[in-house]
């Protein structure tokens, strides 16, 4: 029994890692005032890029770097369309998802069913990982897990406690006032969208080279959309994103845990999506003003307008 609990908790953290990475990215992006619904597509691009590069070079780190570059570039489309051209961010994000799923399907087709020789190796933390129970659960993971936690902390610190963070948040709250401070709202938003894209790429890379070691079309399985909900659940705070992401990681693991009990696997597969609705619903019962959403989220900003 104890073994099962340990293994479930460990797998919960693994399943939550890509959710956390992508949610940090979306938090940064939305804090600057840009809603990016393209996460699902960007994750797919990240997954396929990381997989192909890892398969050909044998180095999952190169795969990660390639995924980050690829998604940063593709998120530039959303930045251009929604910032420079002030188009509807909803439509542009949807287009990005379609494009990402399409391109990843086309590029990845020859690679379906080819397993990687090795996935990203785990990094047991010396000494800590030798601790009973806790060591296995928390300190015997792939580098992605540690990176995700570390990046969440860094993102939180930067957003809350640095000048840069203030600029980013004010671009999302009151772009006009930000501009009068001599800060370029466009520039900040561009960078936030691109950094957000890079995070989605890391999440995708984790899926195809660490979580599993293969590529299948549609392997993101709606995680990108759950990330959008998690961003709201996290109240645009990377620290709270940690809780949300691992909560959902647990729900993904729960599916497999309950299957032997004879519940239909299809009904169990509904769990993460149903929980997303539930989480949003519980969130909505709070005072909406306390939700603290960036005031100008998804509102196109036009420079020099009165």
């Amino acid at each position: 029994m104890e073994d099962i609990i340990i293994s479930v908790l460990q797998r919960t953290l693994i399943a939550g890692t890509p959710l956390l990475l992508a949610t940090i990215g979306e938090v940064i992006c939305e804090r600057s005032g840009i809603l990016n619904l393209g996460v699902e597509g960007m994750m797919a691009i990240g997954a396929v890029t990381a997989f192909i590069v890892t398969l050909t070079t044998g180095n999952p780190w190169l795969g990660l770097v390639a995924a980050i570059i690829a998604t940063a570039l593709i998120s530039g489309i959303h930045a251009f369309v929604s910032i420079t051209l002030q188009a509807s961010q909803v439509v542009s994000g949807l287009a990005l998802t379609m494009l990402g799923l399409g391109i990843s399907g086309l590029v990845g087709k020859p690679y379906i069913g080819k397993p990687l020789a090795e996935k990203m190796a785990t990094w047991p933390i010396p000494i800590l990982s030798d601790m009973p129970v806790v060591g296995v659960i928390f300190f015997d993971h792939s580098p992605y897990f540690y990176m995700a936690i570390l990046l969440a902390l860094i993102a939180w610190f930067v957003l809350q406690h640095t000048r840069l963070g203030i600029s980013i948040r004010s671009a999302g709250e009151n772009p006009r006032a930000t501009e009068t401070q001599g800060i370029s709202v466009y520039k900040i938003r561009y960078w936030c969208v691109i950094v957000g894209g890079a995070f989605a790429g890391m999440a995708g890379a984790h899926l195809s080279t660490s979580y599993s070691k293969s590529w299948i079309e549609g392997m993101t399985a709606g995680r990108g959309w759950i990330v959008i909900a998690l961003t709201i659940f996290a109240l645009w705070n990377p620290m709270r994103a940690i809780i949300g992401a691992f909560l959902f990681g647990g729900i993904f693991v729960l599916q497999y845990l309950l299957q032997p009990l004879g519940i239909s696997p299809n009904l169990l597969a509904i769990l993460p999506y149903l929980s997303t609705l539930l989480v949003l619903f519980i969130g909505a019962l709070h005072d909406s003003r306390k939700l603290n959403a960036p005031a100008m989220l998804a509102e196109p900003y036009r420079r020099g307008e009165r």
């Binding site: 619904l37 597509g41 489309i77 369309v81 051209l85 002030q86 188009a87 509807s88 909803v90 439509v91 542009s92 949807l94 287009a95 990005l96 998802t97 379609m98 494009l99 990402g100 799923l101 399409g102 391109i103 990843s104 399907g105 086309l106 590029v107 087709k109 079309e217 709606g222 959309w225 959008i228 909900a229 709201i232 239909s264 299809n266 009904l267 597969a269 509904i270 999506y273 149903l274 997303t276 609705l277 949003l280 619903f281 969130g283 909505a284 019962l285 909406s288």
Partner: protein, 360 residues
């Protein structure tokens, strides 16, 4: 170089057609470059797509067949998008319609003649799609929960629920263990135009929906309210528009239309319920672009629906002849959508380039 952007005060219809044409052309150019990067001859691929869909009688018949659900869903979506209700859940509203319609067909079909059972199935499908669409609508107006996420989550939920039905309680006794329901009884099957897969009844319903919605949007108080809610929600509040009621009606219509399309697919094409991805090949998502290409005007949906149906049919053709994956169609859709919204910018703004030295 200096780029100057000024807002256009008045938009001439001629400009709007020109922008649309240029956007589509630029989109095709971009798609060509994507194909080229991945080693596919773009001219061959694009020629193949359009010859596959519009180049033969068979192609045209298939294109019309696939245009039916796109027109139905697309016209419903124009209404929702006008009110800035981002219904991304038409895919599962279609499936819910298919589920409801199939249940009626399977259970009542054996006892009722076609003129009674067919309308009942469509009614059930409309109700199924509308109910599924109402949930996100209520969550949005009563609890301010973002409808993009709720409608999407409902897609995944419905997908798995449908698989549960066909694998479990609804699995047909005559299907040798395959995860399909039994065939619909003969009275519940829609008749086709001979030599094609065009189910005429649904096609007629689709055209009727386009006409009705066209009138509703431009000629009625309701249409006016929809437009005000979309363009200026604050003004809507002060002019006494019932936000709650109007949004619910919008989603009953939008979801219901998708539900009708679902009945058409099951009763016209498949005759039994099977996996979600075989009942609908992403019609709910493609219809989003159909509505956008139609400039959210129901009257234009017929043309844009046929255009994208052509891309779907042509997409099948290049899948077979070039061995490309099904997702290729998504590249088409995504790219065209990006260029359509980029076109809107150049329609709304005058962009002038000034080279330095020439003076301003």
């Amino acid at each position: 170089m200096n780029i100057k952007v000024t807002e256009r005060i008045d938009i001439v219809p001629r400009h709007s057609v020109l922008t649309l044409g240029l956007s589509l052309a630029a989109g095709l150019l971009a798609i060509s470059s994507i194909f080229m990067i991945f080693g596919v001859n773009p001219l061959y691929a694009i020629a193949k797509i359009f010859s596959g869909s519009f180049g033969s009688l068979y192609g045209i018949k298939e294109t019309i067949t696939k245009a039916i659900p796109l027109i139905l869903i697309g016209s419903g979506l124009t209404l929702a998008f006008r009110a800035k209700f981002w219904n991304i859940g038409a895919e599962s509203q279609l499936l819910m319609g298919a589920i409801f319609g199939t249940w009626v067909g399977l259970n009542w079909g054996p006892h009722l003649p076609a003129p009674i059972i067919v309308p009942l199935m469509f009614l059930a499908g409309f109700v199924g799609g509308a109910l599924w669409g109402l949930i996100p609508a209520i969550l949005k107006v009563k609890f301010s929960i973002n409808e993009v996420i709720t409608t999407l989550m409902m897609n995944y939920i419905c997908n798995e629920f449908m698989k549960f039905l066909i694998v479990g309680p609804w699995r047909g006794k005559t299907k040798h263990g395959f995860p399909y329901t039994d065939d619909l009884p003969a009275s519940a099957v829609l008749s086709l135009i001979p030599g094609s897969r065009i189910h005429l009844v649904t096609l007629l319903i689709a055209v009727a929906v386009v006409v009705l919605l066209g009138i509703a949007v431009y000629r009625t108080q309701f249409g006016y309210e929809v437009r005000v809610i979309g363009e200026n929600p604050d003004a809507a509040k002060y002019s006494g528009i019932d936000f709650f009621k109007t949004t619910l009606i919008i989603m009953i219509i939008s979801g219901g239309c998708a539900g009708l399309a679902g009945v058409g697919e099951v009763a016209g094409i498949h005759h039994y319920l099977s996996y979600p991805e075989s009942i609908s090949s992403g019609y709910g998502f493609t219809a989003i672009i159909v509505a956008w290409l139609a400039k959210l005007n129901p009257a234009n949906v017929i043309l844009s629906g046929i255009f994208f149906a052509g891309i779907l049919v042509g997409g099948d053709a290049i899948q077979i002849s070039l061995g490309l994956p099904a997702a290729t169609v998504q590249i088409f859709n995504g790219t065209l959508l990006v260029f359509l919204i980029m076109g809107d910018f150049f329609l709304k703004n005058r962009v002038t380039f000034q080279w330095r030295g020439k003076g301003a």
